[in-house]
Symmetry: C2
Subunit: 513 residues, 2 copies
């Protein structure tokens, strides 16, 4: 044994052979994920239309390879054996996440995965034409198959996990979140948010807000976005910004691909979009480098992911100190005009106005859009309602939650989002969870960093990023979401901070600077 | 049997089960090739530097998957069984190409493929720094391993095919080509080309050639390239033009990705580069759509591929009628100047000047660069010389073939090309085969289309593309190269047309317009 120190590590028999085998398998999956992510990004940002069919074939191939890798015969045995191996805490957390990924994949037979992909591909593709045509009947024909396979998946995942069907779908995006936890949270929001919206609208009704006057050339907008992303410390050595119809954060943690889109009549949307995606991007770039390829290095959940994009877009992006430093960059890009006065710009980006479209919603009314969808997709997945019941429920919910009339307007109603045609049931709650968590992070940040707002007013965002890096990004999936939140902020999800943040920002209640 | 016509095709037992199984396997390989091609293109044209390591891991993964698919256990049996199945001519040609691909892949054990990839990756990466540093000694350290694995591969391929080792490597790029055929071809070129070069140089020594005066803005160059590519009928619905350090044609036939690069001091290089790559691109786009995914749909060989790029860059690109139509586009891009006179531009692109660098060589001296490399890599692969013998042989060959002194100048000598660090031994002859074939195609075209040159002078390139599409692109790998050439031009490879073309263009001998 005395010579052991001189024996090369790889020559020694491992004491964790099953864990090592799993780790190698997940590294291979990471490589497949890389190819898949690249193909998706390219499809959205680069690919000419004529390449679509060949790309679909290649994507189906890699999806099958990923599924095969995730459900390879030896994995179940290795997962069981590794439980008894002498793992350190980080490895044990990794093993927990490996088991989670395997459970979710192994519950679904390959023919169902393929059927589901076929149904969503068909529905999603047709939806792109059907939405502008307001063709609900046509949409419904494809959407029924999407719902049918999603229900099957929910049933199988439910049987394996013991969760109720909708929870089993939501668990893929937000591990540990259930309707039993979500319902009281949403009930709380429903109790004060509509009143707050009315209060703020009354308060803002007397304000004058100047609209920026275009045109805003695309190249100037792009340069502005790049400059702001530099300020937000996005690492361009490991990422890019490009253009796509629907902005997203994609690529791989080693090479993050963000997109935005530009319209010459308006620049605020593309800029705030880029800021939002940069939040996602920094989370991905900040994942622990040494563990990339292993499940423990993955972002904790989509709710936590949205908490990063919303920390950037909402907590920072609408902060008066942030706006003050944004203005010179805007003036440099487009010249000066009265609408660029910091106070006016702040009023512009905090304007509250209930509307039909979720992605255009302001910070205050956004949650109503989420709850409306949750109220429909939960019973839809659990068979209490049918796809054809959606429009009536949508109309009722929209009137109740946002006072809007969407009757007959399917295009700006239940057909507006890509999530349902793509069977992403259980995702919507993550947006509001993200908003709630983001407020909770900034409350915790302010407690531990009393000079935080002064820093932001001075244009120094490093303290914010340092806190997020230490408490969120570097932690990746090392802890459960509740543990992560508790270690970061001293408590599990608590909507109090969200309410306090909104009241402070929109009513001037002196909770935040 | 009378109801057979009403039974859906898929419900009938196939009479070619082994062939069908092979076809499915090659379709899967096509999907993997798609992912690989995309990852390579992105790496060269889009990827930020920090993404390199993760990309290398993903590329190694997909290379392993491709090799596994190409050498899957059932393929040998299926290939043997399919020989006895009732295949039509096209299927039989496909089976021949399947067997060829399988032979080449199955001859090499996976550990050798991996070792070779490692050696070339290491050598190729270091070469990027070593070349500018003129560091031959450093290069040699890595290059020895590249040569060693290439020799092993050549031996194994040789044992399987019965070809001599260098021929076995060349066969991967140029099926059917051997030293026994190449040596007389090169001997023929050696007998008249040096004399022709001297004659042309003497003739051109009295000419005045004006150099275009820059700067030429990158965006204007890009627009010019795009406009010329439109004229060349490149299908932008199934392809793109981007920028990379080393221009190439990549992507997949359904979505061809071409690259060029721009220097503001000069625009001819990027323009002719784009024209060259467009030749490759149109061959790829022109491959028979219905057979994509099957080996019979692949480009016939790299020599035939170069015959397309050189048909575009040399046969068309230096044609007086082509130049006459290029000039207005150039003037539109950069304004007018005396150097843009058609006659001057023609003199500029047909200027003959022996030099050190292959990729900068003119049409007349290019073949000498190829023969120099062939004279070295053939004995290198067959063990007659060692890697350290290369510089002396290079110096001698360069002096004899091109009258240039390269002693001590490794950077512009044997280290100038990416081919050797990447173990692409046997590729260089394809460039000259391409030039010879291109001349042969245009000679055949002129025989069958007497109005060809008048069309080109009128700016109408459709007859050229129609001929290439019918005789080359749509034929893909349906025939052996000799059959393809004979069907297209009435004879196998014949350097007479190359000589006639060069003498006509550079001495004004009245063979072509």
């Amino acid at each position: 044994m005395q010579a052991a120190g001189r024996v090369p590590a790889h020559a020694m028999a491992s004491v964790t052979p099953a864990y090592d085998e799993l780790a190698r398998s997940f590294t291979r999956q990471h490589h497949l994920d890389h190819l898949q992510a690249l193909a998706y990004w390219d499809q959205a940002a680069m690919m000419p239309a004529g390449g679509a069919e060949a790309r679909a074939g290649a994507l189906a191939e890699v999806a099958a390879l990923v599924h095969q890798a995730r459900t390879a015969p030896g994995l179940a045995r290795a997962l069981a054996q590794a439980q008894d191996e002498p793992l350190d805490d980080f490895q044990r957390a990794n093993l927990r996440e490996m088991a989670r990924e395997w459970q979710a994949a192994a519950a679904l037979p390959e023919h169902l995965v393929q059927r589901s992909q076929l149904a969503t591909a068909r529905c999603g593709q047709a939806w792109r034409q059907q939405r502008p045509a307001n063709d609900w009947a046509g949409f419904l024909r494809n959407f029924r198959a999407v719902v049918a396979t999603a229900r099957e998946e929910a049933q199988l995942l439910s049987q394996r996990s013991g969760l109720r069907p909708y929870d089993a779908l939501m668990d893929r995006f937000e591990p540990g979140m259930t309707c039993a936890r979500l319902d009281p949270l949403f009930a709380d929001l429903r109790s004060w948010l509509p009143g707050l919206v009315q209060q703020v609208q009354a308060r803002q009704s007397g304000q004058t807000v100047l609209q920026p006057q275009g045109p805003f050339p695309v190249e100037a907008q792009r340069q502005l976005c790049l400059q702001v992303m530099q300020w937000l410390q996005f690492d361009f050595n490991r990422g890019r910004l490009d253009v796509s119809t629907h902005p997203f954060a994609g690529g791989v943690p080693e090479d993050v691909r963000l997109t935005t889109r530009y319209e010459t009549g308006e620049f605020i949307t593309s800029l705030l979009g880029a800021i939002h995606e940069t939040g996602h991007g920094r989370y991905e770039q900040g994942r622990p480098q040494a563990w990339l390829g292993q499940p423990v290095s993955l972002a904790r959940s989509m709710g936590i992911h949205e908490s990063q994009s919303l920390s950037f877009e909402m907590q920072l992006g609408r902060h008066p100190g942030f706006i003050a430093h944004l203005v010179p960059m805007i003036r440099q890009a487009f010249g000066d005009q009265p609408a660029f006065e910091p106070d006016n710009l702040l009023r512009l980006v905090t304007r509250v106005q209930p509307g039909l479209i979720r992605v255009d919603a302001d910070e205050l009314t956004y949650a109503a859009h989420v709850m409306l969808r949750y109220d429909i997709e939960r019973p839809l997945i659990e068979g209490e309602i049918a796809p054809e019941d959606i429009p009536a429920l949508w109309d009722t919910g929209m009137a109740a939650l946002l006072g809007q009339d969407t009757r007959g307007n399917f295009r700006d109603g239940p057909m507006q989002d890509v999530h349902w045609p793509e069977a992403m049931f259980g995702y919507f709650p993550c947006y509001t969870l993200g908003a709630v968590y983001a407020a909770q992070w900034f409350a915790a940040m302010r407690r531990s960093l009393p000079g935080l707002d002064a820093s932001i007013h001075a244009g120094d965002l490093t303290p914010v990023f340092g806190w997020l890096d230490r408490h969120i990004w570097q932690q990746a999936s090392r802890w459960t979401t509740d543990e992560l939140a508790t270690r970061a902020s001293g408590e599990v999800l608590n909507p109090m901070h969200y309410r306090a943040h909104l009241e402070a920002r929109y009513l001037g209640t002196p909770v935040m600077a």
